[in-house]
């Protein structure tokens, strides 16, 4: 058997392409069709016919703009908190951990060994009345005796921050670790004190990691519904929860599909603007 050489790369692409076609492109087309369907007149719940009801999009957005806004606010907050926590962590692992580097990296990934769901439920315990957080904060008078944390937006954002932390830490670590320590020494040699050297050299050189980490956190966080479902209340519903209930409970497929598309488009636009603004093309 012999192939002309030029065809070999295409043949290698074939399995990946077949997979993506079957499990991504076809479902997306299906989803697009569903999003413009309308209920069959006189039909049962969950029976829809194919039309071109683009009004579904407007209706879905108008009905759920609050949840959309909340999704982006929560995702943004979780991304910021994750960045604030992960940067010093990744910095310490990259520059200060010595022989403990590998152990610390394993610890960063260790939560993945248990289920996402289980860990989120555990947070319900941690933030609940019986946990140590609420009594601790009460005794320090940071929150009042009546305040609870479960079923609040605080709990949802905290859960998301925790769950996506490794996705922030690892890219940050990778880009910090790649920095030649001599460039930081060179900054010190050229009259920059520790803080200035960090600001002028370390931070700009770690920017590709910041961009990758924030994207890997923000994108799944914006579409997340598990944290809001387990740690939140009806007042903290995110767009993911709406899509979930539209689809599985109300069997309103067209609205669920339209919301999914709107979310996808919104994330795509935000991410594009963000990458443009960060201007890291020449750094990566």
């Amino acid at each position: 058997m012999s192939f002309p050489k030029v065809r070999v790369p295409y043949l290698l692409l074939l399995p990946g392409f077949a997979f993506l076609f079957t499990f991504f492109i076809l479902p997306i087309i299906n989803l697009a069709q569903t999003s413009t369907q309308t209920p069959i007149a006189g039909g049962d719940t969950g029976q829809y016919e194919q039309t071109l009801a683009f009004g579904n999009y407007i209706q879905a957005f108008v009905d759920n703009k609050e949840q959309f806004a909340r999704s982006f606010v929560y995702a943004t907050l979780a991304t910021i908190f994750a960045l604030v926590i992960a940067y010093p962590l990744a910095y310490a692992i990259a520059f200060k951990s010595g022989k403990f580097k590998n152990i610390l990296l394993v610890l960063v990934v260790a939560p993945f060994f248990t289920s996402f769901l289980l860990r989120t439920i555990a947070w319900k315990q941690i933030l609940g009345e019986e946990g140590f957080v609420v009594p601790g904060l009460r005794s320090l008078h940071i929150i009042s005796q009546q305040t609870t944390l479960t079923s609040t937006s605080v709990a949802v954002v905290a859960g998301m921050t925790y769950n996506f932390l490794p996705f922030m830490t690892l890219p940050l670590y990778a880009s910090l670790e790649r920095i030649d320590p001599r460039t930081i020494e060179a900054a010190g040699d050229l009259y920059a004190n520790g803080i200035t050297a960090f600001r002028m050299v370390t931070v700009p050189l770690s920017l590709p990691g910041v961009v990758a980490g924030t994207l890997l956190t923000f994108i799944p966080a914006a579409g997340d519904y598990v944290n809001a479902a387990i740690l939140g209340s009806p007042n903290t519903k995110m767009i993911g929860n709406v899509i979930e209930s539209r689809y599985f409970k109300i069997v309103d497929y067209p609205t669920a599909a339209a919301l999914s598309f709107t979310l996808m488009a919104a994330i795509l636009i935000l991410v594009t603007l963000y990458i443009r603004k960060a201007g890291t093309e020449e750094l990566v």
């Binding site: 030649d180 001599r182 460039t183 020494e185 060179a186 900054a187 010190g188 040699d189 050229l190 009259y191 920059a192 004190n193 200035t196 050297a197 002028m200 050299v201 700009p204 050189l205 920017l207 020449e282 750094l283």
Partner: protein, 382 residues
């Protein structure tokens, strides 16, 4: 104290510096003065402590014991950014996210200097790369990056410029060219340059004064010519060029000369060139100082007889001979191909001779292999 350090000027004095890592002494009780305005080289094999010494001067390491003064100012514990010292790092350590202009301007901006543009342009002209100001470091060749690293340091007009193996990453031809340029730039700007290298040729080409380091200590310090012509230890004799070291015994005096017995043959050498402490010594002669002659040809100076040619390598400007001596030692002889004498062939019976004043004497208890081993770093480069 540290706020004054930035304006300190004068000679650099290292006083009884020791740097230990656990039980290992990277630098061992080192005392050294580097005069203001000189081009000074710290030369030694990898692991000899030269880079550690440089890093202590830069402030990137702190000595375990000892003090560092610049002029009258004690800078032993001064932070790197408060020292009037700049470094050209090995592999340059340019800031990859900044343009060449901003790389060079970095130090000026940190100190709040006003005419940044003017000064950067001036130094870019000095290194002959004004057209690269807006490029990023990765768009430059190795030689260009090297010059920018130099420009980034000298634009600050430091009291002291440190160069850590600055030419190590360049190919041989470019390295030769940069050696000459660096020397020229040093004269032009009149700064004190301290250059760390394992390349003896590089040190000899550029430096006014060389300190040869070995195992954390200075073996010998002097001008390139002093070190080459009159090495005091076997390490220096072997590390700077090649040496023939022949075991002998001091057998008496003859005015300003010593009479030395080399395996039963008497030769003489100036007393002041002997570093022997008792009557045993090694007589050292550089390969190019030897002359080979056929048996029966009259010769001047010291002569050793009974040799025969073991090997001949013709390398253009010179021919290198290996001559086997009657006591079993093989000596190297480099002969210029300029005298029209018919070359010698393998197996020829010959005498070797040399001017007595070219002889240097080492202690008889020296390890004559010291400094001859090729270190892996150098092998890699070849």
């Amino acid at each position: 104290m540290s706020s004054d350090a930035i304006s300190a000027r004068g000679d650099l004095r290292l006083t009884r510096i020791t740097k230990s890592y656990g039980d290992f002494k990277a630098v061992d009780d080192l005392t050294l003065t580097i005069p203001k305005g000189s081009f000074f080289a710290l030369l030694g094999p990898s692991g000899c402590g030269k880079t550690t010494t440089l890093r202590m001067v830069a402030g990137l390491e702190e000595p375990t014991v000892g003090s560092i003064h610049l002029g009258d100012t004690d800078i032993t514990t001064t932070r790197p950014y408060q020292r009037p010292i700049n470094t050209v790092f090995q592999n340059y350590a340019l800031f990859p996210h900044l343009t060449i202009f901003e790389n060079i301007a970095f130090g000026l901006r940190r100190r709040g200097i006003k005419d940044v543009k003017e000064q950067v342009d001036k130094v870019l002209n000095l290194v002959e790369l004004p057209h690269l100001a807006e490029r990023k470091p990765t768009q430059l060749s190795g030689g260009q990056q090297q010059r920018i690293a130099l420009a980034r340091a000298i634009v600050n007009r430091p009291a002291l410029l440190l160069l850590d193996e600055p030419l190590g990453a360049l190919d041989l031809k470019l390295r030769r060219q940069m050696q000459i340029e660096l020397k020229w730039i040093q004269r032009e700007v009149g700064l004190t340059f301290v250059h760390v290298t394992h390349d003896q040729e590089e040190a000899m080409t550029m430096a006014d004064t060389i300190a040869v380091m070995n195992e954390g200590k200075i073996e010998q310090m002097g001008s390139p010519a002093d070190l080459y012509d009159n090495p005091e230890t076997a390490f220096v004799a072997n590390f700077l060029g090649q040496s023939n070291l022949i075991k002998g015994k001091i057998d008496g005096n003859d005015g300003d000369n010593l009479v030395v017995d080399l395996y039963g043959q008497k030769v003489s050498m100036p007393k002041k060139r002997s570093h022997a402490v008792d009557t045993s010594l090694y007589a050292g002669i550089r390969p190019e100082k030897f002359r080979i002659s056929r048996l029966g040809t009259p010769v001047r100076g010291n002569t050793l007889t009974g040799g025969h040619i073991e090997d001949v390598s013709y390398i253009g400007v010179s021919t290198q001979y290996v001559v086997a001596m009657p006591w079993g030692q093989e000596v190297m002889v480099f002969e210029q191909n300029d005298d029209g004498v018919a070359p010698f062939d393998k197996g020829d019976e010959v005498n070797i001779s040399w001017e007595p004043t070219f002889t240097f004497g080492l202690r008889g208890d020296e390890d004559i292999e010291a400094g001859t081993e090729v270190n892996p770093e150098e092998l890699e480069e070849q």
